[in-house]
């Protein structure tokens, strides 16, 4: 029982990060109908910026803010300089360009920072509180929940309560109609990429210290889990991304705890296959058929 409680909290904490990362994938899918396979590499680049700033100033929080700003900037650059010029007649084009971006970003990071793992500090202790002899959550886990919760709440408010969020939804749903209503569709697309990239960077900041450390490929495995989370939830659904993230986090934790940690990534792939075979639109998808 103790182990089950511990694994559940551990899974929810991991899942919260996957949820944030999956949310970043969903944001771009909704805005541009592209699965951004470069999201992991972009997030790692932002974490490297944080690493540089924190190393130079000694402040974790300055690095944290720098990562989010770098994420926003990287999102703008990737959309304006690269993705805007991708021919969208086939969905594969965007995927291939995104995979190319992964190679470029990881290559540049390797040249600048080297390819060894850099340990990354956390702002709070990762030692779990014990209540009644059961290890529950650490301060860092609480920080992760608070950060992801704040992102989900902010995005929900943005999209449902603000004019700019309304226009972002409109631009994604029917670009030509939106243009006639005075919406700058290109601007909304850039904003979508910037927001998604910043959310992905936040997820990177939260997850990298809990893994092996900072490395150009540090987010590759996380990307697979987050992608699975987004697909499980339905790529169109922000609520689905969050739920999918928590499901994947719990699955990884239970399989690691009860079976064998090395089997856990395979369990994620198995979940991906089962969902794609059984409910390819995801658990929260609308009835509309997916085209890509």
């Amino acid at each position: 029982m103790n182990q089950f409680v511990y694994l559940t909290f551990d899974g929810l904490s991991r899942g919260a990060v996957y949820a944030a990362f999956a949310l970043a994938l969903v944001l771009i899918w909704r805005a541009a109908r592209i699965v951004n396979f470069a999201q992991g590499a972009m997030a790692v680049a932002a974490v490297y910026v944080a690493y540089s700033v924190t190393s130079a100033t000694g402040s974790y929080w300055l690095g944290f803010v720098a990562a989010l700003v770098a994420g926003l900037a990287l999102g703008v650059i990737v959309e304006r300089v690269v993705m805007r010029f991708v021919d969208h007649s086939s969905p594969l084009n965007g995927v291939v360009v995104a995979l190319g971006l992964v190679l470029v970003i990881q290559g540049v990071l390797g040249i600048v920072y080297g390819s060894e793992f850099h340990p990354v500090e956390t702002p709070f202790s990762r030692d779990a509180f014990e209540i009644g002899g059961i290890a529950l959550l650490s301060r860092y886990d609480l920080f992760v929940f608070a950060a992801v919760g704040a992102v989900v709440a902010s995005l929900t408010l943005l999209f449902t309560r603000t004019p700019i969020g309304l226009r972002m939804r409109a631009a994604a749903f029917a670009p030509d109609v939106s243009r006639l209503l005075g919406v700058s569709v290109g601007g909304m697309l850039t904003l979508g990429w910037a927001l998604a990239s910043a959310v992905g960077s936040l997820a990177g900041m939260l997850v990298v210290p809990t893994e092996l450390g900072l490395h150009p490929t540090a987010m590759d495995v996380v990307f697979i889990s987050a992608f699975t989370a987004a697909v499980v939830g339905g790529l169109d659904s922000p609520i689905g991304a969050v739920t999918g993230g928590l499901i994947v986090g719990l699955l990884l934790s239970y399989v690691s705890g009860y079976v064998e940690p090395t089997v856990a990534p395979m369990a994620v792939l198995l979940l991906l296959v089962v969902v794609l075979l059984g409910k390819p639109g995801g658990l929260f998808s609308s009835s509309k058929a997916r085209v890509a």
């Binding site: 226009r167 939804r169 409109a170 749903f173 029917a174 109609v177 243009r179 006639l180 209503l181 919406v183």
Partner: protein
């Protein structure tokens, strides 16, 4: 100074080998209702797409308020130009009110959007998703969305399509009454429903296979032999 004056000078549009519009000139005077009619495929919607900036003309030019003008879709709203679409084109994931609010700027966006729905008699559907509503109601929502931005030039693309006689009468009253007399809006109307066109338009342009074949008042158009030929075929 007159505002809302739109001029088309010798507009031509070619799609590959197909001539969609050929030497079309038209002056839309401020505060007037100008109709564009013609059989299917005559180029009416292409003409609207030129004015909306979705299609770049191969020949000719446009002026707005006397100045040379190259339309861009997302700039129309800022220039006081609104357009409805043939299909209703509403955002399915949003409520009716949100659909209208997308096109309204400023702090009072919600109130103004609601007022536009009220003017079109559909305020009671504000919280409903448009996909669940009957077609005629959605057409009214579409009109409300165009009116909410308080346009000085309103382009209506087949607003009467799918409406019954009472609805069309209401539409005619709206165009001739509140829109024109009260606010001086310039209206450009593409429509198949002849009763509506004849009752609301000050001037009518008739297109056939992309070519302008007649321009005149409803009285002149209704007795024009070339127009009758275009619609009914040449007499044997």
């Amino acid at each position: 100074m007159a505002t809302g004056e739109l001029n088309l000078h010798h507009i031509g549009v070619r799609f590959g080998g197909l001539v969609a519009l050929d030497d079309v000139s038209l002056r839309v005077a401020p505060g007037k209702v100008v109709g564009v009619i013609g059989p299917n495929g005559a180029g009416k919607t292409t003409l609207f797409n030129v004015i909306s900036g979705f299609v770049t003309p191969s020949d000719g030019s446009l002026t707005l308020d006397g100045k040379p003008w190259r339309p861009r879709p997302h700039r129309l709203s800022g220039l006081g130009i609104a357009r409805t679409l043939q299909g209703v084109g509403q955002f399915g994931g949003m409520t009716v009110l949100e659909n209208v609010m997308v096109g309204v700027r400023g702090r009072r966006a919600e109130a103004e959007a609601f007022a536009a729905l009220d003017r079109c008699g559909v305020a009671q559907y504000a919280a409903v998703r448009p996909g669940t509503l009957p077609y005629a109601i959605r057409k009214r929502v579409e009109l409300a969305r165009a009116l909410a931005s308080k346009p000085r030039i309103l382009m209506l693309d087949e607003p009467a399509g799918g409406l019954d006689t009472d609805e069309i009468r209401w539409l005619g009253d709206l165009i001739r009454g509140e829109l024109i007399k009260d606010s001086g809006t310039t209206v450009l109307l593409v429509e198949h429903h002849m009763d509506l066109v004849m009752s609301v338009c000050d001037e009518i342009l008739v297109l056939d296979f992309g070519k302008p074949i007649a321009l005149g008042t409803p009285g002149e158009i209704s007795t024009n032999e070339r127009v009758t030929e275009a619609y009914l075929g040449a007499p044997a």
